[in-house]
């Protein structure tokens, strides 16, 4: 496990050809690790018939709505939480 709850992380902004489970609206965005899940097989290779190994650690990451949408209305603490695989995360300052 590379990241810990409470740690700030950034979702990689890279493009990816083919199946992957990192939504575009979160790429390049910075959030906070909320939970550390288990490791799971990698959908990016599993989708094409491979075993999806090695398994990748999965993290629940929270993002402030106001960081995602400039004109977001609502509570300042409203957040989106998404599950992001470790190889899509980078340490953020």
């Amino acid at each position: 496990m590379t990241y810990r709850p409470g740690q700030r992380v950034r979702v990689a902004a890279r493009a990816h050809e083919g199946h992957h489970r990192t939504p575009g609206y979160l790429k390049g965005r910075t959030g906070t690790v909320e939970r550390v899940h288990a490791a799971f097989r990698n959908p990016e290779t599993r989708a094409y018939g491979a075993e999806g190994l090695p398994e990748q650690r999965l993290y629940l990451v929270g993002f402030a709505q106001r960081d995602l949408w400039p004109d977001y209305r609502g509570h300042a603490d409203d957040r989106i939480y998404a599950d992001v695989f470790e190889h899509w995360l980078e340490e953020a300052e």
Partner: protein, 209 residues
């Protein structure tokens, strides 16, 4: 497709939607290549349509009446389901999240239609619609309002986008006026939409008075 030179039934069917034709074509190919059998498909559909929100509702009602069970449900929903004799389904991990006076959760899958099918049954059509999947993350309070849920300004809204292997189940708040109800009666108040987080259970009028 050069190997595809034998006869079989047409794989399009009049005015059926393009997606249905695509699924039929995929199924025919997978069967033809020996990846799956027709029986696997039938059993999968049988399993899915045998699931219902009544199972999720049993979990929620037990959590409302039994604080120790509530803690176990929030810690490990799969184990909690097994404890009640429910089928939590195959591999995906189920995580239960609890609505409180201060925090409201709602669930979406922006990438497709991930959903705790084992405990809630098939997802509603709107859950799979592009409109819900996009607006649930960009304007969740607006979406909730259209479902008739208006959150107080000081309630924190958490949208869970189930992007990978985890399936999320919302444990709604027990409604006021339900104190006298039995666990079985409470379970009837817990709707599918409440466990997605787009509705709040209400006590029957007779109980409120």
């Amino acid at each position: 497709m050069s190997e595809h030179d034998h006869d079989h039934a047409p794989i399009t069917n009049g005015d059926e939607p393009a997606a249905a034709a695509r699924v039929r074509a995929l199924e025919a190919l997978l069967v033809e290549r020996g990846v799956i059998a027709r029986e696997d498909v039938r059993q999968g559909i049988d399993w899915l349509v045998s699931r219902s929100p009544a199972d999720g509702a049993r979990l929620v009602a037990r959590a409302w009446v039994d604080p120790a069970f509530r803690q176990r449900l929030l810690a490990d929903a799969r184990a909690a389901a097994l404890e009640l004799g429910l089928d939590p389904g195959p591999s995906p991990v189920v995580v239960a999240v609890e609505n409180t006076e201060a925090v409201h959760h709602m669930v979406v899958c922006t990438l497709c239609s991930c959903y705790p099918r084992a405990l809630l049954g098939p997802p509603p059509d709107w859950y799979k619609s592009l409109a819900y999947r996009s607006r649930a993350v960009s304007d969740p309070r607006g979406v909730l309002g259209e479902f008739g849920v208006v959150l107080d300004d000081d309630v924190e809204l958490r949208v869970l986008d189930s992007t990978a292997d985890i399936r999320y189940l919302v444990v709604p708040r027990r409604p006021p006026g339900s104190e006298a109800l039995s666990e079985d009666e409470l379970a009837t108040l817990v709707t599918r939409d409440a466990m997605i987080g787009v509705a709040q259970p209400a006590a029957p009028a007779a109980v409120e008075s």
